[in-house]
Every structure is written in C-alpha cells, then in structure tokens.
C-alpha cells in the first residue's frame, strides 16, 4: 500500500512532464487522501511499547 503512494507520486510527476497537469493534480489529491487514511491506520494501531 505504501509502495502505491510512491508509485502514484512518481506518476503525478511524469504527468506534469507530459503536460497533463489536471490529471497530475487529481493523482496528487488521491495520493494525499490515501496517505492520510494510511496515517490514521498506523496512528490508531496497537502500540508495541511497554511502560
């Protein structure tokens, strides 16, 4: 899943290079939403620290 985030950002950069800016913004937006979802997943997962 995290590999997908990097792949999407790579694609977004290539789209900018290929003059497809609108599509690049959409891909970036999707990546950001997925990243926040993934952060929320890891931020609420059970911690492995012991006090």
């Amino acid at each position: 899943m995290i590999a997908l985030l990097f792949a999407l950002l790579t694609l977004a950069m290539l789209l900018v290079l290929w003059n497809r800016s609108t599509l690049a913004y959409i891909v970036f937006g999707v990546t950001l939403v997925l990243s926040v979802y993934w952060l929320q997943f890891h931020a609420t997962s059970q911690l492995t620290i012991h006090l």
């Binding site: 995290i2 792949a7 950002l9 790579t10 900018v16 926040v36």
Partner: protein, 189 residues
C-alpha cells in the same frame, strides 16, 4: 525576484529534499536500518513536497504550486510529530539510531517545518509570478532544474520499489524485521 531566480531556488530546495531521501536510503542500505511504516510515510511527505517543487520547475512558479508544497509538508510534519510523540515519554525507547543527536523522525519534523517556512517566504515575492504574455518554457531551460527533476523522479520510483520489497502490497510490519515481500518471492521460487 525573477521567475528564473525563483526556479533556481526551487531546484536547490528540491536537491535538498533529494539529499534527505538519499541519506535515508544510505541508512537503510548500508546500516540495514529498515524504515518503519511511519518513516515511510514521512518519505511520502518528502516526495509530495518534491511534487510541488517539480511543478514550479516544469511549469514555472505559481502560488498554488506552493500550496501543494505546504500540503505535502503538513502531511509529512503530522507523521513526524506523531512519531516524536510516540517516543517522547521517558522509557518508551526510540526507533533507529540517532544522527547528530536527533532521530531521523525529529530531523524530518524540522525539515517539514523549514519547508513550510520557506514556502511562506517565497510567496511574499510576487514578481516571480509575472511572466507577461509569454508562457514559460518547461524547466525554463535550466539544466539544474532538469537534473533535480530527474533525481527526485528516480528517488520516488526507488522508494516505490523499496517499499514494495519491504512491505509487499499489504500492511507493513511494525517494526519491520526484513524485506518481507522479497523473502516471499524467494520462498516461492
């Protein structure tokens, strides 16, 4: 500030981002310090900042490109703060070895703070957005801008491959112990 100078500064900023990603890769490959899921998400934040900088390099500086840079930095900074808070209580340990007295996630937090500060400062120079009637050429003919773009592109793709080998298509182990997907591939052969 002219559009050319702005583009040059954006290229330098992108090279700094690339330097941070390269340092993280060196730590991963040389010291076998596998990045945790939150570490990988901070790298995603750095690449997201890089995407905004790429827009400035290819299309020329625009205010909304800086907005994208700030969005990437806010995301990455949020991840950094989350990880700092995980280990802020004495006795909760840390992740990875410190570098110059601070852990990588603390350095990342500082880097994202600097990115937001830098974007705010750059937005104050409005003349960089004045092109007249001429549409700026891609990269503005700057070799530095082209070089920085290629480096971040290679690093983003490299991180995609690295994250795939470490985590596979699913959830990353926390903490990671090995290249999970690579081992699965080797066992399948």
């Amino acid at each position: 500030m002219t559009p050319e100078l702005s583009r040059r500064l954006n290229a330098l900023a992108l090279l700094v981002i690339c330097g941070i990603l390269i340092a993280a890769f060196i730590d991963q490959l040389v010291n076998f310090d596998l990045p945790c899921p939150l570490c990988l998400l901070q790298r995603v934040g750095l690449v997201a900042v890089g995407f905004g900088l790429c827009l400035n390099l290819v299309k020329g500086p625009r205010a909304h490109h800086y907005g994208i840079i700030v969005l990437g930095a806010v995301f990455g900074g949020s991840v950094s703060i989350r990880q700092i808070l995980l280990h802020i209580v004495p006795g909760t340990g840390s992740y990875g070895d410190p570098f110059l007295g601070l852990h990588f996630y603390t350095w990342a937090g500082l880097a994202f703070f600097c990115v937001i500060l830098g974007a705010a400062l750059m937005l104050m120079f409005e003349k960089q957005f004045e092109y007249g009637d001429v549409q700026p050429a891609p990269f503005g003919g700057s070799a530095l801008a082209k070089f920085a773009f290629v480096v971040i592109l290679v690093l983003a793709a490299g991180n995609a491959v690295s994250a795939l080998l470490e985590c596979g298509p699913g959830i990353c182990d926390d903490p990671p112990t090995d290249y999970k997907f690579l081992e699965q591939l080797e066992q399948a052969q």
